[in-house]
Symmetry: C2
Subunit: 215 residues, 2 copies
């Protein structure tokens, strides 16, 4: 939730946060082209010109908001080493990602839209930090496999599948709500997490840790 620019002018800082929050809500609901600066202004309860004062353009605001969002992707899994336990590390990672889907569904949707449209503003990020992160995690998973601590699976696809399932609960909430006949509450997310942890870990030949076991 932090932005790197001038935290000095406390008035400006506060307004920027208010604008970023309004932008997240609006962009998540209507997409980049579908959202007008006026809508964001209404949501933030500020005149339109004020938005353009803090962020030089609609695109500038969008990019600033995207950077904010990307920081949510950090998790305990970033620090995992090959000494850690595969089952617990993966289960925790799944749980972390499920938590983000529950607490920041709008951010997840914006990210999804961005990637759907070819990730025009994320390609730079993808080909730098993201690739490096991926290589590191894949290496650790491969070590675990070499050591016989989990079933041989392709780590790349395994991570894709974890992302797909966890983000699905944020991105496709409309479909999920329709099919369930009710929205996903905290308890439902916990149950979904248990189901997913069981599925993925069993699929990797791992035993589900105590704390993710069913009641």
């Amino acid at each position: 939730m932090a932005s790197k620019s001038k935290m000095d002018g406390s008035i400006g800082a506060k307004n920027k946060q208010k604008i970023l929050a309004a932008a997240e809500k609006a962009f998540a609901t209507y997409g980049f082209k579908g959202t007008s600066v006026q809508q964001i202004a209404d949501e933030a309860e500020l005149p339109k010109t004020n938005i353009l004062y803090y962020f030089k353009s609609k695109q500038g605001l969008y990019v600033a908001m995207l950077q904010d969002i990307m920081s949510l992707w950090n998790s305990r899994f970033d620090q995992v080493t090959e000494e850690d336990d595969p089952a617990e590390s993966l289960a925790d990672y799944i749980a972390d990602k499920m938590t983000v889907s529950r607490t920041h569904p709008q951010a997840s949707k914006i990210f999804a839209m961005e990637v759907l449209n070819g990730a025009p503003y994320l390609n730079k990020f993808f080909s730098n930090e993201h690739v490096a992160w991926m290589e590191g995690r894949v290496a650790i998973l491969n070590r675990w496999i070499e050591q016989g601590r989990m079933t041989p699976v392709d780590p790349l696809y395994l991570l894709f599948h974890i992302w797909a399932c966890t983000q699905h609960y944020a991105d496709f909430s409309a479909q999920i709500t329709s099919l369930r006949g009710k929205t996903m509450k905290r308890a439902d997310f916990d149950e979904a997490t248990r189901q997913l942890v069981q599925l993925i870990l069993s699929g990797c030949g791992l035993t589900v840790p105590e704390k993710y076991a069913e009641l």
Copy 2:
């Protein structure tokens, strides 16, 4: 690929198809608001007014295209009964859905965008055919579980996870391509399918059928 209106005027039918194909391409790339009727006209190599002649409005064209797309979701899994083999039925379903992701990525992206934005044009579909389909499939999965033919999992979440993973390969292709450094070819989809079948089936306590086993 069929639309219900006048298939008589072969000129009109052909043009409608050309327009629908152009619309699918454009909407998948730029979204509903991000696509102008003029862009679709250029793509279809027809004057803009001609588009509005066949489809009374941009929204009308969009809805017609959505209906076209929904028919792609049919699969062999629709006809599965409790007498069928769980492992083979699920594996085939996963493979079918992966095939659609490979052959119709644009359709998948449009569906994803629609759901992301709250599924305004699909809510009716969701609360009718889709719910019925879901209840039927859930019932069969529960029978398989009662009969001890697969691990007890919540069928609802299992289906969510299958959709999430299979559609991910179409919807998030930009991210996948960036991280792999190359696009997914036919062989890559086949490998992803094998990986996913293994993950899901193992997660359900099922044995992977011969035809989806690794080389």
